[in-house]
Symmetry: C2
Subunit: 478 residues, 2 copies
C-alpha cells in the first residue's frame, strides 16, 4: 500500500530527469530498486549525512527493512545498548565512525553490497508496517526506541507538504543530522514533490554559508544553535543569501534575541518554526511565516497544530497543562517496552510530557517539560522561566535549572550556570530576586567553567545534571 | 480518532472569532455540538447549497451519522431508488425541493430540530467509519452508493491542503453543488485552516460575478461549463476580478479554447485543474498553476497524481491503458453492492474505468472512459477524439460519440450532434474524413435540436444516448 518507497516512486515517474542529490531521481530509484534486505531486519546506520545514509532512509524501509539511525554523539556504552536492544542485523558506518562501529559488537556491512544490481520484486507494505526505530532519551537511563511506521512517516510528510508548501522548483539543503527524524520529514517531502536536494555531511557554519551561496539554496531547516553559529560566522553579514526563500527552525526553543536577528538578516525570506518530537514523527505545531511577519508576543509561541495533528492541553482550565497529541503520525509505541508504551499512549493519545499554555487563539507556548518542573512546597516552578531570567543577566552564558531533593519542601530549585564574564552567585541570586517570586529563586546557583552537557540538537541535558543529586532516591513525576 | 469533526474543532479552537460562513467558527461549532443523530443513521439532504446543507456536511458525520446528499436533478424515480437503497432515516430539504422530497416516501426532517441545544458527548470515530454515501451513475441503471469514510474525506482534504496551499487569509466561494464530493473537499480544507467561506445556493453567472466582486473572493472552484457561462455573461469583461488569486476547475474536461480564454481573462490569477472521481473522494491529479503558466501541450493533460495518491496506467507499454488508483482516499466500496465493489477494488487498487495516456514525465491525458471506447472490427476508437474533431467544425455546438451494435463489426461509431448554424450530416462526415482515420468516422451522424442530456456537473450523458440502441442486447465492456 502506501509504503515509504512511494515518494521516490513518484519522483522517479514524474521527475526522473531532475537532479535529486548528486544523482537524478531515475538513477536513485534504479539503484535502490535492487536493495536486498530481509523483511523486518533492523539495519543500523552510524554515520554523518553521507550518500549511504540518505539512500538508506529512502531505501531500507521501502525494501521491507527497518532503519535504525544512531546518534553518533552517544557514548559507546549507550550505542552498545541500542545495537543489542534493536537486535541489529548489520551496521553501516562512514569512515569516520568505522572504529566506533566496530567496537559495538555488530557486524559491519557495506551499503554498496546491499545493492545487488538485480531488481527485487515490489511488495506491498501495509501502512502500519514498522519503518524505523529512532532512539531517544539515551543519555541517562535506558534509551527508548520509538517505533515509526510507514504510515506515521508518510502522514508527517503530508503534514509538512501542506504546512511548508513544498514545490518541485525548490532547492533544499539538508544539514541537520539524519539520526533525527526532523530532517527525514523534509527528505521525504522533497522527494515526494521531486525537489532538488543538497546534503551536507554535518553542520559547519562556513561550509553551510558557502553551500547556501554556491548551490543557490532556496529552502532549509536548522536548529537554533546552528542559526546562531551561522549568524556569528565570519562573512555571515555579507554572504549572498538572496536565493533563500524559506528557512525553518526546530528541535529546541529559540531565544527572542536570536529570532530577531534571523528575521533582520533575512527580511525577504519566509521564516517558520516547527515543534514536535520523535514520537510524533515529529511535527506537531507550526509557527508560520505569516506569524513571524506579524510579530508580537506570538513569536514566543510554537504556533498552532498543523492540520492533521490534534493537540489538547489537559489540566485546570486556563492554566498550563500537559500536551496530549493524536493523529496518523503518532508512533506505534516503544520497541520492546510495553510499560513505557502504555504510559505514553493512552486512549489513542500520546502524552507528550511537555507542559504548555494555550492563548485564546490556540497558539501554544512551551512552559516546561513535565519532568523539569520543580514542585517545591506545593508550588509549581517552571525551570524554563527561571532559566530565562538567569539568561537575561549579561554575565550568564548558559543556565540550567532543575529540582534537587529537599527534606522540608520536597524539592528545591537548583541552578547551574556558565558565565561569559566574572560574576558571583550572590549577584545572580539578587538578579533573580528582582525578577521572580521568592519561591522561584534558586536555593543555590552553581557556577561552572565547562559548557553544559548537550544532546545532538543542542538541548541541555538537565537529566544528566540532576542525576547526581538524586542518587539513591526516586523522583516521582506525574 | 480522526473524524470529520476535526476540521471544525480545529477552526473553532484556532479561529473561533473568524467568520466562517455567515457565522463565526465558534458559533458554528456551538450549533453543531448539539446535533443529535443515531450512530450510523443515514441522513439525506435534497437541497441547494443552503446553510442546513453546509452544516449537515460539517455536522452529521462528526456526530456519528452518515450524510447522503442527493442530486436534485435526478428523476423522482431515481431519487426514490436512492432513498430506499440507502435506507434513509430522514430527509432534509429546502423549500424549493420540499414537494419533490415529500414524494419520495421518506420522513422529512427539519435541520433545526436536529440541533437539540444540549451538547452531546464527544465520541471517537475510527477513521474507517462510514461518513457519507455519494450516489453516482444514477442516470440509467441502478445508481451506486459510493461509501466514503472519515479517513477517506480527511485524506483527500489533506491532499488538497498540500496541492492548493489553503491558508487562513483566503476567502473561498463555494458554488458547485454540494451533492458532489468535489466541493466538499474544499469545504473541509477551508474549515481546517479556518478560511472565510462564502456559499451560493447554486450557480448563476450574474450572481457569481456579483459575489466575486462584492465579497472580494480570493479562491474558488468551478466546473468548465460554469467557467464558460461566466466568461460569456454580460459584464464579465469589465467586472473587477482583481481579488481572485486562485481558480480551480474540475469535474469534466475543459476545451483548449475555454482554457485559453480563462488564462487570458485572469492573467494574474493562479489557475489549476483537478481530476478525480467520487470513488477517490475525489482528487487524483493536479495540473498546477505553474503548469498553466508554462503552457504548451501539457495544458491538454489532467496533470500528475498529487502526493498521497498513487496512479498507474495498466496496459501495453506506451499505449493508453486503464488508470488504476490507490491511496488513503479510495472509497470503502459500493453500498450493498459487493459485486460492484469486487469489480472496482482489486488488490487494494481502484480500477477507475478511465483510459489514459501518460507522457514521459507522467502527465496523464484522458483518452476516454473504458465504457465509451468503441471497439469496431477489433480497432479501438476513442469517443473523445471523434467528438473533439466534430467540435472543431464551426456549426457544431455539442457532440456525443458512442458505440451502437453492428452485426458485422461488433460495434459501430455513432454520433449525435447539436448545431449552432445550418449544416448537413454529410458535410460533417466529410469534415471527419478529413481529420481522422476511416474506421473512426461515424457510421451515422444524427442532428438534434434540443441540447444533449447532461449530468449535474455538465457531463453529457452518453449512457442515456446509447441505451436505446442496445435495448434487449448486452454490451460487454472489459
Amino acid at each position: 500500500m502506501s509504503d515509504l518507497g512511494w515518494p521516490l516512486r513518484r519522483a522517479e515517474s514524474l521527475h526522473g530527469d531532475r537532479t535529486a542529490f548528486s544523482v537524478t531521481y531515475r538513477e536513485l530509484a534504479a539503484r535502490l530498486s535492487s536493495l536486498a534486505v530481509a523483511p523486518g531486519a533492523r539495519i543500523g546506520v552510524l554515520a554523518a549525512n553521507t550518500r549511504a545514509h540518505t539512500e538508506a532512509w529512502l531505501g531500507v524501509p521501502a525494501a521491507g527493512g527497518v532503519l535504525v539511525s544512531l546518534n553518533y554523539r552517544l557514548a559507546p556504552e549507550e550505542l552498545r545498548f541500542i545495537v543489542e536492544d534493536a537486535e541489529l542485523s548489520g551496521l553501516i558506518t562512514d569512515p569516520e565512525h568505522h572504529d566506533l562501529g566496530r567496537a559495538l559488537g555488530c557486524p559491519l556491512i557495506e551499503w554498496e553490497e546491499l545493492l545487488t544490481g538485480r531488481p527485487r520484486a515490489r511488495r506491498d507494505l501495509p501502512p502500519d508496517t514498522l519503518a524505523a526505530i529512532s532512539y531517544t532519551g539515551g543519555t541517562t537511563g535506558r534509551p527508548k526506541g520509538v517505533m515509526l511506521s510507514h504510515g506515521n512517516l508518510l502522514a508527517n510528510a503530508q503534514h509538512n507538504l501542506a504546512a511548508t508548501g513544498h514545490r518541485p522548483d525548490q532547492r533544499w539543503l539538508h544539514v541537520c543530522p539524519m539520526f533525527h527524524v526532523a530532517g527525514i520529514a523534509n527528505l521525504l517531502a522533497c522527494t515526494w514533490v521531486g525537489a532538488e536536494q543538497v546534503v551536507l555531511p554535518r553542520f559547519d557554519a562556513a561550509t553551510v554559508l558557502e553551500a547556501l551561496e554556491r548551490e543557490r539554496i532556496t529552502h532549509t531547516v536548522l536548529v537554533p544553535t546552528m542559526l546562531a553559529m551561522l549568524l556569528d560566522a565570519p562573512g555571515a553579514g555579507t554572504a549572498d543569501l538572496s536565493s533563500l526563500r524559506h528557512v525553518q527552525y526546530a528541535a529546541s526553543p529559540i531565544s527572542a534575541e536570536l529570532q530577531r536577528r534571523v528575521l533582520e538578516r533575512l527580511p525577504d525570506c519566509d521564516v517558520a518554526q516547527f515543534y514536535g518530537m520523535t514520537e510524533a514523527a515529529p511535527t506537531v505545531t507550526h509557527l508560520t511565516p505569516e506569524d513571524h511577519r506579524r510579530g508580537g508576543r506570538r513569536l514566543a509561541s510554537v504556533g498552532t497544530p498543523v492540520p492533521g495533528v490534534e493537540a489538547e492541553v489537559r489540566g485546570p482550565e486556563g492554566e498550563p497543562g500537559e500536551l496530549w497529541i493524536r493523529g496518523p503520525n503518532i508512533m506505534l509505541g516503544y520497541w520492546k517496552r510495553p510499560d513505557a508504551t502504555a504510559e505514553a499512549l493512552v486512549d489513542g493519545w500520546y502524552r507528550s510530557g511537555d507542559i504548555v499554555r494555550a492563548d485564546e487563539h490556540g497558539y501554544l507556548y512551551l512552559v516546561d517539560r513535565a519532568k523539569d518542573m520543580i514542585i517545591t512546597g506545593g508550588e509549581n516552578v517552571y525551570s524554563l522561566e527561571v532559566e530565562a531570567v538567569l539568561l537575561r543577566h549579561p554575565a550568564v552564558a548558559e543556565a540550567a535549572v532543575f529540582a534537587v531533593p529537599d527534606d522540608r519542601w520536597g524539592e528545591a530549585v537548583h541552578a547551574v550556570v556558565t558565565t561569559r564574564e566574572a560574576v558571583t552567585a550572590d549577584a545572580l541570586l539578587d538578579h533573580c530576586r528582582e525578577h521572580v517570586a521568592g519561591f522561584k529563586v534558586p536555593r543555590e546557583i552553581e557556577l561552572r567553567d565547562e559548557p553544559l552537557p548537550k544532546s545532538g540538537p543542542g538541548k541541555v541535558l538537565k537529566t544528566l545534571l540532576r542525576e547526581p543529586y538524586w542518587a539513591g532516591r526516586e523522583r516521582r513525576v506525574n
